[in-house]
């Protein structure tokens, strides 16, 4: 039996999300045990989960309080920390997954690698010489690019599922979500009693997320609730936790609407059975969203920024509304249309749509967010996202499968896509020149000062590309990581290594050129620009 440890030192939603990978590993290793190391403040997540063999919790808040207060000697904090992770360090692990990819998780992974020399580490860790090591290119991308890019072109699930190799789709159903049949029956009865002859659909709305930046604006929530009832679309049910701030928010909303609202206050132990009895769930990016995603509850995810797409829903029937206009009236109108469309796919839009709606889909290279046919693509973000994703998969991960055009390029092929493609071409030419210069210096056989200086200048310029945002930044990072791994003092051996790295990068650039041709063919075969017609 393989003993697998997930180190997940983030929030409740990340723990739910990580079960996609847990599910994948469970299929790959049916006789494995799945275990978690998490923070105590995220422990409620495990109330909604099952089939997890052991959960080890770090009481982070208490440790921090002991450690930061000058009145306490440091041993209180050290003892609590070592006590919390004692069983983890004493257990022999076969696979250790640094899922949270944060500094604490990375140091713990590094320690566990030394406690378990034979274990496979998925994700990032340091070796004894302090060298940061990525278990795979996907892990490198996750660690070096996703954390620093202003937007993330690749979904976290693609990187994480790549940890385990094999196909990139998620495995359904997810057997880690706890389904309590008694609770299901109770909630079925309780919620069914709310349905009337006039209003038959129940639409859950998640009121609060972890940050007000992510929340659906109260005015929008109030307006869609009113319209749902006025148009007899469905009964809005507001999901809240028992936290006082959520209860107060619900009261404020009730005052704002001017009538009593129906709230459902539930714990993580029961929430699955509430979600399963909804006809539709409307939610910002929250932990409950991740749980609903695992349960494949029909869902509209509300995002205030495309930067959140890296952790958005990955259930294929779901839609994502990106609140690009920030105009509450327009957003309400769009959301109401989307709710109607999710409940009745045959419905058609008669007025202009103001925000982008993305539909979740998968292809060979992972999760895609396609523009909905009835909604406008108003940002080049989606083109950038597509190109970045293609580079990760084709050039870095060397997936040789055919790229399918995303819908927005098929239907709306725009100037914006053309602009992004031009940027990619310029970056590729720059990189090609630098690589050729570098190879010329390395292969000339000269070891004079001028040649060395020229090579160093080229190398510096190349490595500086790892610091700036661009399509080919991951290639520069890949080179930087390889160069940093050189630890030999033999200059001839190192020169040979550099040559090999440069040749590999040259082949990556050739692959990028092939990709550019393929992307251009998308553009050429696309119909005329419907973007302008709207």
């Amino acid at each position: 039996m393989k003993k697998i440890l997930f180190i997940n030192l983030r929030r409740i939603g990340d723990i739910f999300f990580s079960t996609h990978l847990a599910q994948k590993l469970k299929v790959k290793y049916p006789h494995s045990s799945i275990n978690y190391l998490a923070y105590k403040e995220s422990a409620a997540a495990f109330d909604a989960l099952t089939n997890i063999d052991n959960t080890y919790l770090i009481d982070r808040k208490t440790i921090i309080t002991y450690a930061k207060s000058p009145i306490f000697p440091v041993h209180h904090a050290v003892n609590l920390f070592s006590d919390n992770i004692k069983k983890v360090t004493e257990t022999k692990w076969d696979i250790i997954i640094n899922f949270s990819n944060d500094p604490v998780g990375t140091h713990i992974s590094s320690a566990l690698k030394l406690f378990n020399p034979g274990a496979q580490i998925l994700g990032t860790f340091h070796n004894e010489r302090k060298k940061l090591t990525d278990s795979s290119t996907a892990s490198q991308y996750l660690n070096e690019c996703m954390a620093t890019n202003a937007y993330s072109s690749v979904h976290l699930s693609d990187c994480y599922l790549n940890f385990a190799e094999g196909p990139l789709d998620t495995i359904k159903p997810n057997t880690f979500v706890k389904i309590n049949s008694e609770s299901n029956q109770n909630n079925f009865k309780r919620l069914n009693a709310l349905r009337t002859n006039e209003i038959t659909k129940l639409i859950g709305i998640q009121l609060m997320s972890s940050s007000t930046n992510k929340d659906i604006p109260m005015e929008v929530v109030a307006n869609i609730a009113k319209k749902m009832i006025d148009l007899k679309i469905g009964l809005p049910l507001f999901l809240i936790s028992n936290a006082p701030e959520e209860i107060n928010y619900a009261k404020d909303l009730s005052n704002f609407i001017g009538t009593t609202i129906t709230t459902i206050s539930t714990s993580f132990e029961e929430i699955s059975s509430v979600l399963l009895n909804l006809d539709l769930f409307v939610t910002p990016d929250t932990s409950v969203k991740h749980l609903a995603d695992l349960l494949e509850v029909p869902m509209i995810e509300f995002l205030n920024s495309t930067s959140q797409l890296k952790q958005s829903s990955i259930s294929v029937n779901n839609s994502i509304l990106v609140n690009e206009t920030k105009n509450n009236s327009e957003t309400t109108s769009d959301l109401i249309f989307l709710i109607q469309k999710m409940l009745n796919p045959k419905i058609t839009k008669t007025t202009t749509f103001n925000n982008s709606v993305l539909n979740v889909s998968f292809n060979e290279v992972g999760v895609f967010y396609n523009q909905d046919e009835s909604c406008v693509a108003s940002s080049s973000e989606y083109d950038k996202r597509f190109i970045n994703k293609a580079i990760l998969n084709r050039v870095l991960l060397k997936n040789k499968m055919e790229l399918r055009r995303p819908l927005e390029i098929q239907k709306y092929s725009t100037k914006l896509f053309d602009q992004q493609l031009t940027k990619l071409k310029v970056e590729t030419v720059t990189l090609s020149k630098l690589i050729l210069n570098g190879l010329r210096s390395l292969l000339s056989g000269k070891s004079d000062k001028t040649n060395s200086r020229e090579f160093l200048l080229t190398l510096t310029e190349l490595l500086s590309l790892s610091e700036v945002e661009g399509f080919l930044r991951p290639l520069a990072i890949n080179l930087k990581v390889k160069i940093e791994s050189i630890s030999d003092n033999n200059s001839e051996k190192n020169r040979k290594l550099l040559e090999a790295f440069f040749f590999e990068m040259k082949s990556q650039v050739s692959e990028t050129n092939l990709l550019i041709k393929e992307l251009e063919s998308f553009k050429q075969s696309a119909p005329k620009n419907r973007f302008m017609e709207l």
């Binding site: 983030r10 929030r11 923070y39 403040e41 995220s42 770090i58 982070r60 808040k61 208490t62 440790i63 921090i64 309080t65 002991y66 450690a67 930061k68 000058p70 009145i71 306490f72 000697p73 440091v74 041993h75 209180h76 904090a77 050290v78 003892n79 920390f81 070592s82 006590d83 992770i85 004692k86 360090t89 944060d102 500094p103 604490v104 998780g105 140091h107 713990i108 590094s110 320690a111 566990l112 030394l114 406690f115 340091h126 004894e128 010489r129 302090k130």
Partner: protein, 208 residues
Amino acid sequence: MSSNIEIKLTPSGLHVPVKNNIFLHSAYDPIKEADNFLEKHINSLTTKDNILVLGFGFGYHIDAIYNYCNQQNLSPNIFILEPDQELISKAEELRSIKYANLITFTNLTDLFNDIKFAALLITKPYFLPHPASIASNETYFKNFLTFQASQKTTDVTKYIQDISLSSTIAQLENTDEINKIFEMKNFLSKEDFLLCAFSEMKKQGRDL
């Protein structure tokens, strides 16, 4: 902790200690005085789970707190910090009282090294100072309120339960150097990495 305790009797026959020439309770009516003391803190008694009374005296003010909590069906945990064991013994003897949760450390370093007391402080208990007790033992309570733990590794390593972690910390000059292990060393052991993780966690805020 040696003290100079005299016992006086009130007109109604109650025992009142006088310590270092300070009456620890009213010489005339300690019960009424205790009720007045209680009045000032009633709100906190209803909202806090843990109360830390600074100074025991002869316990009249503690009686008032317990009586009030019983009447109101309140059940906060009441802890009493009193380093003078002799005072407590006399109160128990003369008043036939016995309280749980008496904290009697005379050495403040030992007090703050005690994990049970540290765990109590973590809960942010309501501090309820008994003015006469504090006046009679001013240095102790002042030092208590301004206490800062030692940063010397020699002062903490003996209390670290994990032997490997303890010996790794023992190599450092002070406990602040735990934050610099990653930069200081060329090769890191598993204990070093665990301490690096600990140090990174310290940098985080209260919310994730």
